[in-house]
Symmetry: C2
Subunit: 312 residues, 2 copies
């Protein structure tokens, strides 16, 4: 392939679940000359892709995108001429630590190596590799073909050049890559989201508000606010001329009381994963939502992102 | 006034700071016949209102809105024919507990009594009142003329009829009132937002990501997601056919690890209000944001809200 279209970026996706499909759609639509090779053990791979890809790609672009996909049964063949190798395989360290040394053997020396893991840091994944400078985590917020964020989480061994090339690649695709400075449990987006989610579970478990009411509170207040300005910027603006310092002076008392009440609520409610509160909250969500139309959700999310990025 | 336009709702606002102005704008623009009386001790009240109100109301509507504002120096005069009395005075319990018995003396018996407090529950505010059934908290998310949410927080004494009439009033104004089932510290929206904010402070203090990067993470992931679907609905959808139950089965391990890491991070970072971490984070915000253009923020927020509510 490389010899026919030398300027095309060759991207190999290892794993074609929903995240793999979404990334395939993202690459194919945002880089109109790139070539995507898919490697996945499922026996019906080609028909699976043809069936599901249309829901990720606008109809007008589907043919030109589909033409640029190829399939590789062997890992060696899949990676041999790749510029980027992106894995979204099973979330276990054994799989990943045995995968990368194999890839290292067969891939071009300059290829970027990305893992979509939501929890296994690059410093663990590189264990068996000769060259530990090439790999980093590129953690999407699902689904990546819609949500702009990509958390780039290098290990202490990842080279600056690899990070810089990865940043450039995502910026060129119009996405929002953010480099995380230190590997940490869950990376940043999930840590933030799960902190609010815990408080939501705690308040629902205490009967302060229903699951559905809590969702309505979020979509009519901090959701739209944080689509426009993150929490620091929002509270900085809320502090007026004195910024975040003034905000903390004026509202800090309430903030501290809320934090104390959270801690108490979490303790009282036993808000640990799998504890008693969980079934009631799951049931409430089921009663409230039945079957969620993710197509509608994605269409609205696209409009929200356009509304924020448009100027004037 | 009531005799001239018997159908008009008369709203008295006690306190004309930024929240009072924003509520005035909201009432005047969303109910085109209502009359607003403003009571505030500031000596330059009328010129203050004329100067600031134009930034809250579209130019085309300004004249017709301004005509429906009147001013009352005495509390007695301010409330005597009111249908709704809404206070956003100083945030201290003494002020509020001495205000309401005065209002009760002079206001029509059927008038709705609303407090915009962000922390003093109705059950405390009604202390000196003869009739404790009439008052509830109507807590906005700032600024209320933009953000749809109103948390209605009745005390255990508030009558169902008062809650129902308050709900109807806000629904008629096209807003999103949500009734909170139990009085609790900080109510729900701030509890949720401050839980995420604490995690953001903790990660910034640990040097995992900068203040600006954390904001960028939020605006490119959970912000737009939560503008469209709240956390429960989002994770319910993320669980596929098994809903939130499946989500917790599949991702619960990571969720639990993140919660544990949060607790540890908060302890290690001493993330209490006013502790050492705070100055560094405030400085970062100042360096990142300088002067925030809240007009631009509000315009974008309006577009986001339109994008979510529009169909098709």
């Amino acid at each position: 392939m490389a010899s026919e279209t030398p300027e095309s970026t060759e991207i190999t996706l290892i794993g074609a679940g929903t995240i793999g499909l979404s990334f395939a759609a993202l690459h194919l639509t945002s880089d109109p000359t790139c070539l995507v090779t898919i490697h996945d053990k499922r026996p019906d791979l080609q028909s699976y892709i043809s069936t599901h890809l249309p829901s990720y790609i606008p109809e007008a672009a589907l043919e030109s995108c589909t033409k640029r996909i190829s399939y590789a049964d062997s890992l060696q063949h899949a990676v041999k001429s790749a510029d980027i190798i992106q894995e979204q395989g099973p979330e276990n360290a054994e799989f990943k630590t045995s995968l990368w040394p194999e890839i290292e053997k067969h891939a071009p020396q300059n290829a970027l190596l990305w893992s979509s893991t939501s929890g296994i840091p690059a410093s663990v994944q590189v264990e068996g590799m000769r060259d530990k400078t090439r790999l980093l985590v590129v953690h999407p917020y699902n689904p990546p073909h819609i949500m702009p964020l990509l958390e780039l989480v290098p290990s202490p061994s990842t080279s600056q050049d690899v990070v810089a090339r990865t940043l450039n690649c995502w910026r060129a695709r119009g996405r929002t890559p953010v480099v995380i400075k230190k590997e940490c449990t869950g990376f940043v987006a999930n840590r933030l989201a799960f902190a609010l989610f815990r408080e939501a579970c705690s308040l629902a478990a205490q009967g302060v508000a229903s699951v559905e009411d809590i969702d309505e509170i979020v979509t009519s207040s901090m959701g739209p606010r944080w689509a426009v300005a993150g929490p620091f910027k929002a509270y900085y603006a809320g502090g007026g001329e004195g910024g975040l310092r003034s905000f903390m002076e004026k509202i800090g008392g309430t903030v501290g009381e809320c934090w104390d009440a959270s801690d108490e609520g979490v303790r009282k409610g036993g808000i640990r994963v799998g504890a008693e509160w969980q079934e009631g909250v799951c049931e409430q969500a089921e009663d409230a939502y039945g079957v969620v139309d993710t197509g509608d959700r994605d269409a609205k999310t696209r409009r929200v992102l356009e509304a924020v990025s448009s100027r004037g």
